[in-house]
Amino acid sequence: MRRDERRARSREAGRRLCWAVMLFYFLAFLLLALRDMAWQGFALAAAVPAMIWLGTNLLPRLYPGDRLLLSLTNFLCALGVLVHYDTNPAYAYSQAVNYGIGLGVMVFCVWAVRLIRDWDWAMWPLTLGSLALLALPLLFGRETYGAKNWIYLGGVSFQSSEFVKLSLILSLAWLMSRRRALRWLAFTVACLGLLMLQKDLGTALLYFGTALLMNFAANGSLLQLGLGLSGGAGAALMGYRMFAHVKRRVAIWRNPWADYENAGYQLVQGLMAIASGGLFGVGIGLGSPTTIPVYHTDFIFAVICEQFGLIFGLCVLAVFVALIWRGATIAMAARSAFHGLLAIGCTLMLGLQTFVIIGGVIKLIPLTGVTMPFVSYGGSSLLSSMCLVGFIQGVASLNEDDLREDTRIAMAVEVGEP
């Protein structure tokens, strides 16, 4: 198929998906606006579809990236704004602002990947800076829900581990592609050690899983994968023995009903919310999602299932699957080891995070306190997720350039140019 035909079909598919997404959010925000008769709701009913349209159609003009990835990301970010507007409008406005900033940050990350080919100069600043950022909460942070991973500076709070995950993936991709095993191992172990000191075991699990699977993608060694998994299992057992809150979480996971009024209250409320939503939900703006503790971050998936139903919850899960599938496809099409590892690392991080949080909410695995990418409330989480997508988009845009080059070479051979 010729390149222009391919582009036309891609644009047509993008338009159809974009219109479906825009219609969904227009109707949803309009309904919520009619509930409150607040002008902010009507404004969001116009603004959010417009942002989606701009994000899906304008941004691809700035770089030759992946339109499907962009569409799916916009869908998930807008879903976060919608669900927060339903439960607490103040969260929605903050989330919408972060969504807008996130789009800009994503474009910045795309161009960083496109323009910077040699990351050697950045390795020491990235690794040492990341370790310093991870150490900050231990010195100046506040303990929240059993973990000391938040930094409060002049009225602004952020989670340093959300930004360190970006430098972790960049560093691991570069060092693995250059076969500097000792350096990336040392950096990963140092990060994990600092996270264990913060008692942020959910993030430690994500870092560990991502590093292990990136190593497997880099060298295909089943032996190293097996050793890593064994080490991880050992560390998990050690964590269970050392930390009381880990024991508590495992006990709640095994039987939340045993102490449903105290320790198990959050999980029980989440499960009851999912069940009460049934297949089609209780209806947006109805139900009582705010009875779930920390509904806006950890249990946002339970809120979605309560309001929109289990079928829609599965659709959200399918969107994440499509996003991860696309990321993996982009990684496999990359022409250099660094870019392939960068894309797969970002995809793995998003995938693992989604699995861990949704698994915890539906009681498949113990709760870990990580956020749902793009959807959960929180500037740090949303911006870091957008950066991850930006890196994947950067690799996708390089793949497009390579494809263009392949076609040019093939045409040169056909025409017989020297």
């Binding site: 079909r9 479906a20 309904l31 569409s71 799916l72 297949l279 089609f280 939900g281 139903g309 040169a412």
Partner: protein, 189 residues
């Protein structure tokens, strides 16, 4: 709006939202499927996509069948194990033997891994002193002797330091000389 009217509206709209959600997922997966088909079609149309050339066994040299050629990517590893980008299961070649990296305007950079070595145009190459290959360069690795042939479109960008094909014709008396095909183009130094 009254609470009752809103409740009826919301309960009715939940089916619409579920249907739209399912439609969005369906369109996304149809898009994925279409792109997968286009990728297969593209691979069929451009089988050498991403490759800069191929390594051909030198006729007369022992170790490898002469009718096999090994495509060389822009970046990858050469070794005996299947997971290598250039898999040459010959005697003396380690599981992962060399790192290959194409640089526009320069050539193919060859870096042996660990303490391994190889010969490029008769000169020894080590990890500390990587070598460069041009169109027509020979690579002796393990028990195999190979020659690099760059694809035409790739040659157009490259300004090699390699010998011209006329020089190779002067070596034709050597038992392991590689005779270029009659329509081969002269490579300008």
């Amino acid at each position: 709006m009254s609470t009752e009217i809103y409740a009826v509206l919301s309960l009715g709209m939940r089916y619409v939202f579920t249907a739209l959600g399912a439609l969005i997922v369906l369109r996304a997966f149809l898009w994925l499927r279409r792109d997968r088909r286009e990728k297969h079609e593209r691979l069929r149309r451009l089988p050498d996509a991403g490759m800069i050339g191929e390594l051909l066994p030198v006729p007369g040299a022992a170790g490898l069948p002469e009718d096999v050629c090994y495509a060389v990517p822009r970046e990858g590893t050469l070794g005996a194990q299947r997971t290598c980008d250039v898999c040459i299961p010959a005697e003396g070649i380690a599981r992962e033997h060399l790192d290959l990296s194409w640089q526009d305007g320069r050539g193919l950079r060859v870096t042996p891994l660990g303490r391994l070595t190889c010969l490029i145009d008769g000169e020894e190459v080590t990890r500390a002193r990587p070598g460069w290959m041009a169109h027509g360069s020979t690579l002796a690795v393990g028990g195999a002797l190979l020659r690099l042939r760059l694809f035409e479109g790739v040659e157009a960008e490259y300004r090699p330091r390699a010998r011209a094909f006329d020089d190779e014709a002067a070596d034709a008396s050597a038992p392991d000389a590689w005779t270029p095909p009659e329509d081969a183009e002269e490579v300008e130094p």
